[in-house]
Amino acid sequence: MAFPHRPDAPELPDFSMLKRLARDQLIYLLEQLPGKKDLFIEPDLMSPLDRIASVSILKQHEVDKLYKVENKPVLSTNEQLCFLVRPRIKNMRYIANLVNADKSAGRTRKYKVIFSPQKFYACEMVLEEEGIYGDVSCDEWAFSLLPLDVDLLSMELPEFFRDYFLEGDQRWINTVAQALHLLSTLYGPFPNSYGIGRCAKMSYELWRTLEEEEESETKSRRPEIGHIFLLDRDTDFVTALCSQVVYEGLVDDTFRIKCGSVDFGPEVTSSEKSLKVLLNADDKVFSEIRNEHFSNVFGFLSQKARNLQAQYDRRRGMDIKQMKNFVSQELKGLKQEHRLLSLHIGACESIMKKKTKQDFQELIKTEHALLEGFNIRESTSYIEEHIDRQVSPIESLRLMCLLSITENGLIPKDYRSLKTQYLQSYGPEHLLTFSNLRGAGLLTEQAPGDTLTAVESKVSKLVTDKAAGKITDAFSSLAKRSNFRAISKKLNLIPRVDGEYDLKVPRDMAYVFSGAYVPLSCRIIEQVLERRSWQGLEEVVRLLNCSECAFTDTTKEDRASSESLRLILVVFLGGCTFSEISALRFLGREKGYRFIFLTTAVTNSARLMEAMSEVKT
C-alpha cells in the first residue's frame, strides 16, 4: 500500500519560491498605480491568484474593492481601476466599453490593465481600435508557473490545448519558453533535453534562443534538475481519453479538481454545506491513496479508520498526566486525520454511487476492448446506444474519439451513422464540434477525404519543393494517422497477463488503467530515459508522425550531481492527466528517479472534449 519513496530518491527542489516571485511581481505592478484602486479580476485567474496571494495582501497594496470581470454593469466609484486579465479579445472589449462609457459620461479615471501571463499584440490592437489606447496603461504579470504540489507545476492555461492543437495558433509558445527560462534561471541549466512533437520542438528552440541571448549566470550554476522532457499532447490522445481509475484521477473525473482543490458537495461531506479541500502532499490521508487504483482505496481507508480508532482508544487506560499529553500533542493530529479520513471515505462512497449508476463496469469493458482492438462491432453499438439514450454528450464524444484514434479513423458508414445520431440526440449545432474534432485529428473518417489531398496537391503545384515540404508538414497535422495499433504493439502497451493482474502490487505503469494499458506518453518517456536518446525508437517516432520533431540535446555536464541526474522535469504541452502523473510517479519509484511535472493545465477526457465542443453547456 501507499508506496514509500526509495531511500535514495533525490530531493525535490523547492518550488514555493515561484509563488513568492509571482506575488512580489504582482505587488510591484499594483504599486505602479499608487493610491486606492478597485481590482477587476478575470474569473479564470481567481483560483491561481488565491494560491499565491490573499485579499489582505491586496488590501495592503491599496486595493479597495474586488470585482469579477463579467458582463454586468460596473458599480465601482473608484478613481482608479485596475484589471487583472488573460490576454483575450473579449476582455479588451469589456474594458473598452467601460472606459468609453466613462468618457461619454465625462468621467476621468485612471485605468491599468495587467495581462497575465503576457500581453498580446492583438489585444493592444483592439484597445487602439476602440480609441482607448493611451487611456489605459498596460503591464504584464509573468505569472506562468503555479506550484500545485511539491512535484506539479501548472501554467493554468487550459486554452493552450484548443489554441494550438485546434487553431494552430502558436501564441503560447513564447509563454512556455519564458517559463522554462525562469526555471533554468532559478534551478540551474538542464544538462539533458529530449522532446517530441512540433510544439515541443518550437518551444525548445525559442527557449534556447532566450538562454543564448540572455547571458545570464545560468550556465555557471550547478544543475539541480538533470533532464527535461517535452511532449506534445497530440502524440498521445488515447491516454487522455481513457476513464481514470486511480484515486486522484477519479476524483478529478468525478468532482473536477480545480487549481489543486476540489469542492466536495453535501453528498460527500454528509453535512449541509460544501467544502473546498486542497488536495496535495500536505493531506496525509490523500497523499497515501492518490496514486492507488480505486479498488485498493476502500481497504486502505478502513484499515486507517481502525488504526485511528485504536489510537483514540489508547486514552482509556491513561492517567491524568498522560491524558494531558495526549490532548495537547496528539489529539489535534488525530482529529485532523479523522476529518480527512471521513472526507475521503465520503468521496469514495459518492464516486461508487455515481459509477454504479452509469454502469461503469460496462464502460470500462468497452474502453479496454477498444484499447486492445477486439469486438469493434460490439463497442460501436455500445457507443451508439449511449448516444441514442442521450447519456452525457461529452461521454459519447469521448468514446467516439477513442474508437477513432485506436482504429485509425471510423469506417465511413459508422462515421456517418454515429454522427447523424449524435446530432439528433444532442443538437444539430454539434456539426461544428465534429468539424473541430476532425481538424484536431481526434475524430476522423477512414480513407481521408479527397478534398484535403486535392488542396494539398493544388497548393504544392504553386510553390517550390522546399516550401511544398513545409505545407505537406502543416497538412499532415490535419491528416495524420494515429497508428495506435502499430505503436501499441511496438511499445508493448497492452501487457500480457497470466491470470489476474494484482492491482495491490502493481508490476508496471498499466496499473493506472487496471492493468489493461500502459499510458503511451509515459512509455515513451520511460524508453527515451532508458536510452538517453531516441535511438532504436525510430519506427515508433515515425508511427507517431514525429520524424521531424523528436529531438535530443545532451551536454556533457560534469557538475551535475548524480542526484540531479535522477530528477526529471516532464513538460506536457496541451495538458496532462492525473493518471499519467501517477504512472510516472510509479516509474520513478521503480527506477529511483523523481519526476517533476510541468503542464499547461491538468486535463482529463471531459476537458479535452469540452475544449473541442462548439456548444457550451
Binding site: 519560491m17 513568492r20 516571485l21 512580489d24 511581481q25 504599486e31 461619454s104 503576457q118 500581453k119 498580446f120 499584440y121 492583438a122 493592444e124 498596460c138 503591464d139 504584464e140 509573468a142 489554441d163 494552430g168 502558436q170 501564441r171 509558445i173 513564447n174 519564458q178 525562469l182 534561471t185 532559478l186 534551478y187 540551474g188 518550437m202 518551444s203 528552440e205 525559442l206 534562443t209 532566450l210 541571448e213 547571458e215 549566470e217 550547478r222 539541480e224 446506444e385 441514442d388 442521450q390 447523424t420 446530432l423 439528433q424 440526440s425 444532442y426 443538437g427 449545432e429 456539426l431 461544428l432 468539424s435 497548393v459 504553386l462 510553390v463 516550401a467 502543416a474 497538412f475 462548439e614
Partner: protein
C-alpha cells in the same frame, strides 16, 4: 457616445481636427492633407514616446523603492541552503538589478529581440511597450546592453512586398505566435486583400494564425472572403453557419438557417442543415400551439404535467420525447405528432422505440408501452418484438418505477436465460425466477431462492408446490 447630429457638426467645425472632414472635394488638397497628416502622426509617435516618458515617472510614484522592497522580501524568503539559491539570494540583496536575470515581460522581449539588428530605431509597440520597458531600461546598463535596445523598429518601414514577406518569414522562424499575429495585422493593413491571401496560401502557419485572429476579433466578412479565395468551401459554409449561435430570436434564427441550406456543405452535412432548419420550424409551430393550450388550461395533459421548459432549440430526440409525451395520439398529419417527426427526420426504429418507451413509461401509460412492442403477423397472431432488446426495455421500465406485473412480463421476454435470471432477481420478479428455475429443473437454486422470499408469502407457497411436485425430473 450619442452626440446629436447638430453636436457632431459643431464638433467637427470647431475642432482643430477640421482637416479630417470628408466633404473635401479637392483631390490635390486632400492628398496634401493626407501626407501632412501622415507626417504629423509620425511626429506624434515620437512626441508620444517622450510624453510617455514623462507620464511614466509621474505615474509610477516611487517604483524603485517598492520594487527593491519586494525583492528583499523574495530574498529574505529564499533561505535555502543550496548553493544556487544562495547565489541568487546574495545577488538579490545587492540591488534589484539582479532581478533582471529573471525573464523579462515576455512579449516585449520577443518582439524586441525579433527586431533587434534592424538598423533604424523607431517605435513598434510605442506607448505600452515603453511602459512595460521601464524596469528593463533601468537594468540595461548593468547587463551591458546598448541603451535603447528596446526601441524597436516601426513596422511601417517595411514597404516592399519582399520586405514584408521576409518579416513574416522571420516571425515564423521565431515560432512566437504573438509576433506572427502582430506582423499579420500589419500586413493586413498594408496589403490588398488579394495579395495578402495569395501570399498566405503558401504559408500555412501564418494562414492559420490569420484565420484564428479573424475568428477572435469577429471579422466574419474577411474570414469568408479568405475561405472563398482559398476555395475552402466547407470551412466557409461552417463559418457562416456558426453565426446562428449568436442569434437568440427563434424566428430570426430560423430565417438565418434557411440561408445556410444553400451553402456549399458536403451532401451529408447539407442534409443535417436542412434538418436543423426544419426542426426549428416545427418547434416554433409546436411551441406557439402548446403555449396557447397550456395557458388556456383546457387540456388535461398540460394541466397534469406542466411544461418545464420551452421546446425551442432542443435536439431532435428531446423533441420526439416531448411529442411522445404530450402529443402521442395525434394523427400523422399534425406537425407535433411523433409519427410525423419520425417520418420527416427518418428517425430509425430503434431510436423511436427507445424514446417513445421512455416517454410513455414516464406517464405510466403501460397500455401504450404494450402496444409499442406488439406486432401482428398475417395470420392475426400477436407477437412481442423489440428492436432494442428486451433487457433494455426492462431497465427503462424499472427506471420509471413500473410495477412488478409489468416488469415481469418484459423480463419473461428476455431471451438469454442468464440475463433473464439476473434481471428478474435484481428487480424482484419472483414468479419469473421461480418459473425459470423450474424450467431449468434446478432444484438447488430454487431451494436457495426460497430463503430469499418472504416467509409465508405466495412465492414461498409456489416454490413449495413446485418442489413437492412429482412431475419434475430435477437435475440436481
Amino acid at each position: 457616445m450619442n452626440r446629436t447630429k447638430g453636436d457632431e457638426e459643431e464638433y467637427w467645425n470647431s475642432s482643430k481636427f477640421k482637416a479630417f472632414t470628408f466633404d473635401d472635394e479637392d483631390d490635390e488638397l486632400s492628398q496634401l492633407k493626407e501626407s501632412k497628416r501622415a507626417v504629423n502622426s509620425l511626429r506624434d509617435f515620437v512626441a508620444d514616446d517622450d510624453d510617455d516618458e514623462l507620464e511614466r515617472v509621474s505615474w509610477s510614484g516611487e517604483p524603485v523603492g517598492s520594487i527593491s522592497w519586494s525583492i528583499k522580501e523574495t530574498a529574505g524568503h529564499s533561505g535555502s541552503t543550496q548553493e544556487g539559491r544562495e547565489q541568487l539570494k546574495n545577488q538579490s540583496r545587492n540591488s534589484f538589478s539582479s532581478y533582471a536575470q529573471l525573464p523579462k515581460p515576455s512579449s516585449t522581449y520577443s518582439l524586441s529581440s525579433f527586431f533587434r539588428g534592424r538598423t533604424r530605431p523607431g517605435s513598434f509597440q510605442s506607448l505600452s511597450d515603453a511602459l512595460s520597458d521601464t524596469p528593463s531600461k533601468s537594468y540595461a546598463p548593468e547587463l551591458g546592453r546598448p541603451k535603447g535596445e528596446y526601441r524597436v523598429c516601426s513596422l511601417e518601414r517595411f514597404r516592399s512586398l519582399q520586405d514584408k514577406l521576409q518579416l513574416l518569414e522571420e516571425a515564423e522562424n521565431m515560432h512566437d505566435g504573438n509576433v506572427i499575429t502582430a506582423v499579420l495585422i500589419f500586413l493586413k493593413r498594408t496589403l490588398s486583400k488579394e495579395i495578402l491571401f495569395r501570399e498566405l496560401e503558401v504559408r500555412q502557419v501564418a494562414l492559420r494564425h490569420l484565420i484564428h485572429f479573424l475568428k477572435e476579433i469577429g471579422d466574419q466578412k474577411l474570414l469568408i472572403d479568405l475561405f472563398r479565395f482559398l476555395d475552402r468551401t466547407e470551412e466557409l459554409a461552417l463559418s457562416h453557419y456558426r453565426e446562428h449561435l449568436n442569434i437568440q430570436d427563434p424566428e430570426k434564427r430560423k430565417e438565418f438557417l434557411k440561408t445556410c441550406i444553400s451553402l456549399p456543405f458536403s451532401a451529408e452535412d447539407s442534409a443535417h442543415i436542412q434538418d436543423h432548419y426544419t426542426l426549428l420550424e416545427r418547434q416554433i409551430i409546436i411551441e406557439a400551439n402548446d403555449r396557447h393550450l397550456e395557458s388556456a388550461g383546457q387540456t388535461e395533459i398540460f394541466r397534469k404535467h406542466p411544461r418545464k421548459a420551452s421546446i425551442l432549440n432542443m435536439p431532435l430526440v428531446t423533441t420526439l420525447f416531448y411529442s411522445c409525451f404530450y402529443h402521442y395520439t395525434e394523427a400523422e398529419g399534425t406537425f407535433s405528432s411523433p409519427i410525423n417527426l419520425k417520418k420527416t427526420f427518418k428517425i430509425p426504429d430503434k431510436q423511436y422505440v427507445l424514446t417513445a418507451l421512455a416517454a410513455r413509461a414516464k406517464l405510466r401509460a403501460w397500455h401504450d408501452v404494450d402496444a409499442l412492442f406488439t406486432t401482428k403477423n398475417w395470420l392475426g397472431y400477436t407477437k412481442k418484438r423489440a428492436p432494442i432488446g428486451f433487457h433494455r426495455v426492462v431497465e427503462i421500465l424499472h427506471k420509471n418505477s413500473a410495477p412488478v406485473q409489468i416488469l415481469q412480463e418484459y423480463v419473461n421476454l428476455v431471451e438469454d436465460v442468464d440475463t433473464k435470471l439476473n434481471l428478474a432477481t435484481k428487480f424482484k420478479c419472483h414468479d419469473v425466477v421461480i418459473d425459470t428455475y423450474r424450467d431449468l429443473k434446478d432444484r438447488q437454486q430454487l431451494l436457495a431462492y426460497r430463503s430469499k422470499v418472504d416467509k409465508g408469502s405466495a412465492e414461498e407457497e409456489k416454490i413449495d408446490a413446485i418442489l413437492s411436485s412429482s412431475q419434475i425430473r430435477w437435475k440436481n
